[in-house]
């Protein structure tokens, strides 16, 4: 089973996000960068599938040079090798052009299974996984919490609003991860040592046979960014007893806020 994991390096979720002077990007100086949490589930699941079925796990990413840190972490968890597309022309890509680049890498080296995070928690775009599958002409199943591979087919439990659905697809296929799929392992010390010797191929767009103009110009552009007005603390409901506080809260919610 040859498995590819699509991985992005993103700001840690506890990061303070600030807007730069250009108004359309964020300040990156003080940010701690981590593997996108949904991609961690993807790495873990790929490793479990490899452990059960044999094969290898390749981490594929598009990003700046420092992305190798995130790839190295995935290698320390147990993945076999990494491919990073690092090209100035790939900066400022939207979801669709990123998907096009990833699809070009995946066309070069065929995989039986591709696993991607349902979304990256920076852009929150939910687009790359299904778009890569579309460009490769293979099926995708979104937001998977459980999977099973039998005879060149994958059966996935996907979450839908208000329930779950079980779908089956012939391999090669792509699925995206949802919380509940697994608990990602930590890299062990021997794992970290081994990862230092594992290969990370850093390639340009030309290396994967993609001329910069073929990735298409971004179809979506950020024209402005703002920090949403911060929620302010309001009133503490006071009262002589718990009973009195409950009465007062319900009165306020009904009469003033009009939400019940």
């Amino acid at each position: 089973m040859e498995i590819a994991v699509l991985l992005k390096q993103v700001p840690a979720t506890e990061s303070l996000i600030e807007i730069t002077d250009d108004g359309i990007s964020i300040k990156t100086d003080d940010i701690k960068w981590v593997i996108n949490p949904y991609d961690e589930f993807a790495v873990e699941e790929a490793l479990q599938i490899k452990e059960a079925h044999g094969g290898s796990v390749t981490i594929i990413s598009v990003g700046p040079e420092k992305t190798t840190e995130a790839i190295r972490t995935a290698l320390a968890m147990g993945a076999d090798k990494g491919i990073l597309i690092n090209d100035p022309a790939a900066e400022g890509c939207d979801g669709l052009s990123t998907a096009r680049i990833l699809a070009a890498v995946l066309k070069e080296t065929p995989f039986d299974l591709i696993i991607a995070g349902q979304r990256a928690v920076d852009d929150d775009n939910f687009q790359v996984g299904p778009a890569v599958a579309e460009f490769l002409g293979i099926p995708n199943i979104s937001m998977v919490i459980k999977q099973e591979i039998i005879d060149a087919k994958i059966r996935c439990h996907g979450t839908i609003d208000g329930g779950t659905v079980i779908l089956e697809a012939p391999l090669p296929a792509l699925f995206t991860t949802q919380r509940g799929l697994n608990e990602p392992r930590y890299a062990s010390l021997p794992g970290i040592m081994k990862a230092k010797k594992k290969p990370i191929d850093i390639k340009t767009l030309a290396d994967i046979g993609l001329e910069a103009d073929r990735i298409g110009k971004p179809l979506t552009r950020i024209v402005a960014m703002q920090i949403p007005p911060e929620r302010k603390g309001g009133r503490m409901i006071t009262g002589d007893s718990a009973q009195a506080k409950a009465v007062e809260l319900v009165r306020i919610l009904h009469e003033e806020a009009k939400v019940i």
Binding site: I17, P130, G163, Q226, M236, L253
Partner: protein, 323 residues
């Protein structure tokens, strides 16, 4: 020349998702601004009884793609039918709900059609004649305005973010001959949590965190039920195995924007706030007066949730004349 607005309706077991009405209403506003028609498209196996309802939310035409092969949402079949229709009719704007299904469908459609997609929009406006879509990024820490180049402009709108508007009109119904193409995805089965209000669509969400101290969420469930709301949870409550992952609110869970969010025994970590900050009114119940959640809540009660929440439920019952 692309023209017209196409809204993709979503139904499950013969019931429209609430976000479908939101997408149609917003689609109507866009169509009025562009001075063009709003067309709704609906896919499924058994649609005769529900299709006409779409006219009440502003659709001039209702395209019904009815076929046994469309009985369940399958990415490949639905993408093919809708993409073929779009290629034929060439709408300028495609709008749909960013439900789980809508996210999957819109992402795949954008790739098939090489069309710009603004995912999970919370507001849509015009600057001159161009659409600007506002969407949260970085777990809601940023609101970004997005311009879209190319056609059609696909707008997937976040549930509970836009207003539903009823219109008197009744749209004309047209049947669409469907060719689902080569389908490789196979539907095996589905299970729905019957009787539960979907978290992302609920008007009220009552959430419990580590303060619940166990899997017994009865006090939360009772209050949620009284308010016709849904039950949510913090990641800690999910990690403890007290609640299913589908209940998790936050940056790595669901994003909810109800009218009323009641956080019980939740400290207010930044990742949790990312999932509920856009709620209209937030109430926090926590025994720690220093809990950060109080600085983000409109109303706070300091106290033991096991004492306070049932008392609130009592009051709500009285209010609703159920006692």
């Amino acid at each position: 020349m692309s023209q017209g607005v196409l809204a993709i309706a979503e139904q499950i077991e013969g019931v429209f998702r609430k976000v479908t009405y939101e997408a149609l209403s917003e689609g109507r506003r866009i169509a009025d601004r562009l001075n063009c028609d709003l067309t709704a498209i609906i896919l499924g196996a058994d649609l005769d009884n529900i299709s006409k309802e779409l006219g009440q939310y502003g659709a001039d035409r209702i395209i019904v793609a009815q076929s046994p092969t469309l009985s369940e949402y399958l990415t490949d079949a639905y993408t093919t039918v809708i993409a073929d229709y779009i290629n034929k009719e060439n709408p300028a704007v495609v709008i749909l709900g960013a439900s789980t299904q809508g996210k999957d469908l819109s992402a795949r459609l954008s790739a098939r059609l090489n069309a710009p997609l603004a995912m999970d929009c919370v507001a849509i406006r015009f600057e001159e004649n161009n659409i600007i879509a506002t969407r949260p990024m970085y777990g809601g820490k940023i609101l970004a305005d997005i311009a879209l180049d190319g056609n059609p402009q696909i707008l997937a709108i976040r549930p509970n973010a836009m207003t539903i508007t009823n219109t008197a009109g009744a749209g004309s119904i047209e049947k669409l001959d469907t060719d689902t193409g080569n389908m490789v995805l196979q539907f095996i089965e589905k299970s729905l949590d019957t009787g539960k209000v979907e978290l992302t669509e609920a008007d009220t969400v009552v959430s419990g965190g580590r303060g619940m101290a166990g899997a017994d969420f009865t006090v939360i469930e009772e209050l949620a039920q009284l308010l016709d709301g849904a039950v949510g949870a913090s990641r800690s409550a999910v990690d403890e195995g007290w609640r299913p992952a589908s209940d998790q609110v936050g940056q790595t869970g669901k994003v909810v924007s109800p009218n009323l969010y009641i956080a019980c025994g939740i400290s207010g970590a930044i990742q949790h706030l990312a999932g509920m900050s856009s709620s209209k009114v937030v109430v926090a119940i926590n025994k720690d007066p220093e809990a950060p959640i109080f600085s983000k809540a409109d109303f706070g009660i300091e106290g033991d949730l096991f004492e306070i929440v049932p008392l609130i439920a009592e009051q709500v019952k009285k209010l609703k004349g159920r006692i």
